[in-house]
């Protein structure tokens, strides 16, 4: 066996991180050329998880694509459902003949489940990052808390991962009887648990020093590379679609947006891995607040328990059979950043074009830029800090 010397200036070792590497969060291959411990170049290689989801969207009818959006980002399937459904609704409403509105209770439930799912998604993100950095315990505690969200979702819609809950025009079921109490109880308990989580890992000096000043992305760079969501906000850019282009009832909630401020103190800099990590944790706190606020706003139940609210089974179903022509692009704030659906309809039952824009894709795009000259051990921390979910990249 030989180790290739790829450039004349120094000997480089080509390492294949993945497609089955413990730290690549799925089936992602990262070709790392390293000079000893120092990474020289780093090239993400996608496509190992490609399932033609966008293409499938052009073959099935509008409502039938919703289960597939679950699979685009299985860590926050609710948000993915929501993004597609909002896009589809907007396209339907572009035809003046279609005059349905999503019931207010439906809008509230949508925001509620989206924020709950943001919590569980961020838990996976911060936990997995801690695990990549070598702390195993926080990840498992994060997962245990995520089970609380999953239990609520399972009671709500019958599944723990691929919910197919948000429908075009509403949500599939109303809240179950004890949902509000359970969610409140979960949030209280979860808030206490997060304090312990943070004491265990966030403020740990080893963890902080490993992430501080690693893969720093300046605000200008972040915008130039098209970073979105917490990755963008970690670089200090104050932008959040929930606040700046509100959809649903987000406009009434007054979303507060945490941004990176060199949380690591004098060792860190704005936009480093630690900032992205802490921004996620602060977003969890914000989500807890939003959930509570939504529960306050929730109008009383109108129908019987198991009925859908709005939804394509009702009048929307008929309108989907005769969709208008046109195109629409809707962007929403998913946990991994802006999740945008671009839909083109030619008036037939199936969409002409479905295009999904996801946060992980742009995050993976900046890898080769930020991973120059960092240590090999940092590669995994950086992957964790950008919180990529591979099917989001491959779609």
């Amino acid at each position: 066996m030989t180790i290739e010397a790829s450039t004349p200036s120094g000997e480089r070792m080509t390492l294949n991180m993945g497609p089955h590497h413990p730290a690549t969060h799925g089936v992602l291959r990262i070709v790392v050329e390293s000079d000893g411990e120092v990474v020289a170049t780093c090239t993400p290689d996608h496509g190992y998880l490609h399932r033609s989801i966008e293409k499938i969207g052009e073959c099935v009818e509008w409502p039938m694509f919703v289960p597939y959006t679950d699979r685009v980002d299985y860590v926050c399937a609710m948000n993915a459902n929501l993004a597609y459904c909002i896009a589809a609704e907007k396209l339907l409403q572009s035809d003046p003949a279609n005059t349905f509105v999503v019931p207010r209770r439906g809008e509230c439930i949508r925001v509620l489940v989206a924020e709950l799912n943001r919590i569980s998604s961020h838990l996976v993100a911060v936990g997995a990052m801690a695990m990549d950095v070598g702390a195993y315990t926080p990840f498992l505690h994060g997962i245990a808390q995520r089970e609380g969200v999953n239990d609520i979702f399972e009671k709500l819609c019958g599944q723990r991962l691929t919910y197919n809950y948000v429908t075009i025009g509403g949500v599939a079921y109303d809240l179950y009887d004890t949902a509000i109490d359970e969610i409140r109880r979960f949030l209280d308990q979860f808030e206490r648990e997060m304090v312990r989580f943070n004491k265990l890992v966030t403020t740990n000096t080893i963890f902080r020093d490993r992430c501080a000043s690693v893969a720093t992305v300046s605000a200008a760079e972040a915008i130039a590379w098209g970073l979105v969501g917490p990755n963008l906000r970690g670089s200090g850019v104050d932008f959040d679609l929930r606040r700046d282009e509100p959809y649903g009832i987000y406009g009434e909630l007054g979303v507060q947006v945490p941004v990176g401020q060199a949380f690591a103190g004098r060792k860190g800099s704005v936009g480093d891995a630690y900032d992205r990590y802490v921004v996620r944790l602060l977003e969890i706190l914000e989500s807890i607040r939003l959930c509570r606020a939504v529960l306050e706003l929730l109008p009383p139940a109108a129908a019987k328990a198991n009925d859908p609210i709005g939804g394509w089974q009702a009048d929307v179903g008929k309108q989907v059979k005769r969709p208008p022509k046109g195109e629409v692009h809707v962007r929403t704030e998913a946990p991994r950043g802006e999740m945008g659906y671009f839909l083109v309809s030619d008036g037939t039952k199936a969409l002409f074009r479905v295009r999904c824009r996801t946060g992980s894709f742009t995050a993976a795009g900046i890898f080769h830029h930020v991973m120059r000259g960092i240590f090999l051990a940092d590669v995994v921390a950086v992957i964790g800090s950008f919180d990529i979910v591979v099917p989001e990249i491959d779609r």
Partner: protein, 179 residues
């Protein structure tokens, strides 16, 4: 009897390790064989009842120098292949060095033998050491203080110098990829 056996084993280890280190063409194997040789020599020190020396031999030569050599091997070109080519010039130089070193060793051995002959039979110890850690410490801090500290200073200077050299060659982290 067991002493003889162990002595033979140690000596064979030392000799075989040395020969192997000289002849084996794989750099990594040669370094490992050198380690074997050093271990054998540590064993020989034990036979001289010089426990302290034996331990220091292991700490310094195996734990320190051998590891450094191994480390350097890994940074050499073509790490895994690492097979040395023989050149006649190097062979000649090596041979010359070996002859000279042997001459010195034989000369010393003969001198030691005559010194030993002068002493009463059965006392095989060299003059300077009494096999006592304290003696070694006293000698290093007393009679041999100046050479000891001179050596220490030299090593420190070498260390600092190497750090300086490395600093000069080190590029800023961001530039690595541009080369």
């Amino acid at each position: 009897m067991i002493e003889t056996f162990l002595f033979v084993v140690s000596s064979l280890l030392a000799i075989a390790g040395a020969i192997g280190a000289a002849l084996v063409r794989n750099l990594f194997h040669a370094s490992l064989l050198l380690g074997l040789c050093l271990l054998g020599i540590a064993g020989l020190y034990l036979f001289l009842e010089q426990h302290w020396l034996a331990c220091v031999q292991v700490v310094v030569y195996i734990g320190g120098i051998l590891v450094l050599i191994l480390f350097a091997t890994l940074f050499s070109a073509d790490v895994m292949g690492a097979v040395q080519r023989r050149s006649p010039a190097l062979l000649a130089a090596g041979g010359l060095a070996a002859v000279l070193a042997s001459a010195v060793v034989v000369r010393l051995a003969l001198a030691g033998r005559s010194a030993a002959d002068a002493r009463p039979a059965g006392d095989m110890r060299p003059d300077a050491f009494e096999g006592d850690t304290f003696t070694v410490g006293d000698l290093l801090m007393g009679d041999w203080f100046v050479p000891f500290f001179a050596a220490g200073l030299l090593l420190t200077v070498a260390l600092v110098g190497s750090v300086v050299i490395v600093q000069r060659f080190r590029r800023p982290a961001g530039e690595v990829a541009d080369a």
